[in-house]
């Protein structure tokens, strides 16, 4: 038997309490990993969907928090195309729409001749060649049970599914695309778009990109211009989501800390006599303190391991649920796992120091007399 065996045995011999404390930490760690993983996944999905379209700069209405509600005059596209360094501009009207089947889907309207159509990877059917035609991502098509030639109803209007496409990003695969004119009519936003997708002539030359962007900003002060990578950083909805994720995680961690403190303080109270025995057999205050700190550390290390498995496993499970398949994308990296594990271990340390200190302050004679 070595020294670590003693705190380990203390935990093993009180399985219910140890397990409940461990689960408290595991839930905090697991929910943090799952929430951050999903939020990162959402950002990644967004970036991927924009990158896949070959968009280098997105032009949004300045000062708008919720971009789906923004309206920009579609005629600005011509002026944008005239700026030196711009290769192509594609207006897009996007909205989150409830389908007549009850599903909620992202619906986008693209103009005829838009370069965006060429970025789609068709898995069946063809691109829409007339009004009243729609094309949909594979996930939403599977979810709705639609294939080319089928009819679908959108805001009371019938559309024919012309084709199904499969992109890399989950967001794209859950999008229905219809001609821009149809979308404007459906949304009663004639002549308006939500954003412009801009392709640059020399995207690889970053100096050139910065130069074109500043020229665009100067010429169109009513618009804000974002390079693809900046889109998620500047998005207010994602900022809010991130803040919520952090808020929930902090609450979960504080709760885990309280559980840990409570468990170890109860343990000190219950084991008063044992602490007296340790003192009597010559254990120093430092060794007794170390025993309780190790108990806390063991709980937090095991809790973060279980939490990691729960978080990652839970995300996999969610992502593979038939109803959610293709809707959830997540990103778990060492950048998430390492800080959360370190935080959980520090939590174990902080949560055990006070109870451990209390244990060393017990009067050994009274401790030996305790029931």
């Amino acid at each position: 038997m070595n020294f670590v065996s003693v705190p380990f045995r203390n935990l093993i011999r009180r399985p219910t309490r140890s397990m409940l404390t461990l689960m408290g930490i595991a839930v905090a760690v697991g929910s943090f990993i799952a929430l951050i993983g999903m939020s990162r996944g959402l950002e990644l999905a967004w970036i991927n969907s924009v990158l896949e379209r070959g968009t280098h700069i997105a032009a949004l209405k300045s000062g708008v928090v919720e971009i789906l509600t923004a309206s920009i005059d579609e005629k600005i596209a011509d002026a944008l195309s005239g700026v030196d360094g711009v290769e192509a501009v594609a207006g897009e009207l996007i909205d989150l729409t409830q389908l007549d089947s009850g599903h909620t889907a992202l619906v986008a309207g693209w103009g005829r001749g838009s370069y965006l159509w060429n970025t789609l990877h068709l898995s069946s059917g063809k691109l829409p060649d007339s009004d009243g035609n729609a094309i949909m991502g594979q996930s939403i098509a599977e979810s709705l049970g639609k294939k080319p030639g089928d009819k679908m109803s959108l805001q009371g209007r019938q559309f024919t599914v012309a084709g199904v496409f499969k992109q890399k990003g989950v967001m794209s695969n859950n999008t229905i695309i219809i001609p821009l004119a149809d979308m404007q009519e459906l949304m009663h936003r004639q002549g308006k778009v939500t954003q412009f997708n801009i392709r640059l002539k020399n995207f690889d030359d970053h100096q050139q990109v910065v130069f074109v962007k500043s020229r665009l900003k100067k010429t169109f002060p009513e618009l804000s211009f974002h390079e693809t990578g900046e889109l998620t950083e500047n998005n207010e909805v994602l900022k809010l989501l991130r803040a919520m994720v952090w808020g929930i995680s902090v609450i979960a961690f504080v709760m885990a800390l309280v559980i840990m403190l409570n468990t170890l303080l109860m343990s000190v109270t219950e084991r008063t006599r044992e602490i007296g025995i340790f003192s009597a057999i010559g254990w120093s205050a430092g060794r007794i303190l170390m025993m309780f700190v190790l108990e806390g550390l063991l709980l937090s290390v095991m809790g973060s391991l279980v939490g990691g498995v729960l978080g990652v496993g839970g995300l996999h499970w969610l992502a593979n649920l038939p109803r959610l398949q293709g809707f959830i994308e997540f990103q778990i990296t060492s950048e998430i796992l390492i800080p959360v594990s370190v935080t959980a271990i520090l939590l174990g340390l902080v949560g055990s120091i006070y109870p451990a200190w209390r244990a060393t302050k017990l009067d050994p004679v009274n401790a030996l007399r305790a029931d």
Binding site: M1, N2, F3, S5, V6, R9, N10, I12, R13, R273, E274, G276, I277, F278, S279, A280, I281, G282, W283, S284, A285, R287, P364, V365, L368
Partner: protein, 220 residues
């Protein structure tokens, strides 16, 4: 005359801001390899004296010496208890989460570095108290007599100079009590370990080299 292993000089102990006094001006000197029984009625101050002799409690006034030196504080007493003092309690005081062998090994942390050394020493001690076959049993799986024998084995873990036994037979039947007392006597005779037994049982006191009576906190 041999210099004392442990001694107290004019030791008094009071509680509750002096309202209760457990020991009055006690002076006692215990030589190496002595077998002493401290007797006296309940509440006479026997346990207080024993706790002071090993640094688990501290006197309100007076001095305590161990091997001719005055230990400085809690830390030094902890070290002395680990290296030189073994304990046997009336309620056995074994750690419930550890087996018989591990209870003995727990007393060796910081004294014997190697895990193998600790395990072998524990086995040897369990053999010495006749419990080799019970080494993997937890305290709640042992009888009272067996628990006390494990406690005695634990007290011997670091080959102490002094064993303090506080009413070691208080919770045992007469048969087990006799075995425990003969074991303590055997340890004293074979290993020249000083043994101080606290007991109010005159039968136990009969076998002592010296009997120290305490009445109302005074050594008489």
């Amino acid at each position: 005359m041999m210099s004392p292993l442990v001694a107290i000089q004019n030791v008094s102990k009071s509680y509750d801001s002096g309202k209760i006094t457990a020991l009055y001006d006690a002076t006692l000197s215990v030589s190496p390899s002595e077998y002493i029984v401290l007797t006296g009625p309940s509440g006479s101050g026997k346990s207080t004296l024993m706790h002071i002799l090993c640094g688990l409690d501290f006197p309100s006034s007076g001095s305590v010496f161990f091997a001719g030196k005055m230990p400085a504080g809690k830390g030094e007493w902890s070290r002395l208890r680990a290296l030189h003092i073994g304990f046997v309690f009336q309620s056995f005081h074994l750690l419930p989460t550890l087996t018989a062998s591990e209870n003995i090994q727990a007393a060796m942390f910081g004294v014997m570095r190697s895990k193998k050394e600790r395990r072998e020493k524990a086995l040897e001690l369990l053999f010495r108290v006749g419990l080799s076959d019970r080494r993997h049993h937890y305290p709640n799986e042992l009888s009272g007599g067996e628990r006390q024998r494990v406690a005695i084995a634990r007290s011997l873990a670091n080959s102490p100079d002094l064993i303090l036994a506080d009413e070691p037979t208080g919770n045992l039947d007469s048969g087990s009590a006799a075995k425990i007392m003969s074991l303590l006597r055997e340890i004293n005779e074979n290993y020249k370990t000083t043994v101080i037994v606290v007991s109010h049982d005159p039968e136990i006191a009969r076998n002592a080299d010296r009997i120290v009576h305490i009445v109302d906190g005074r050594i008489v």
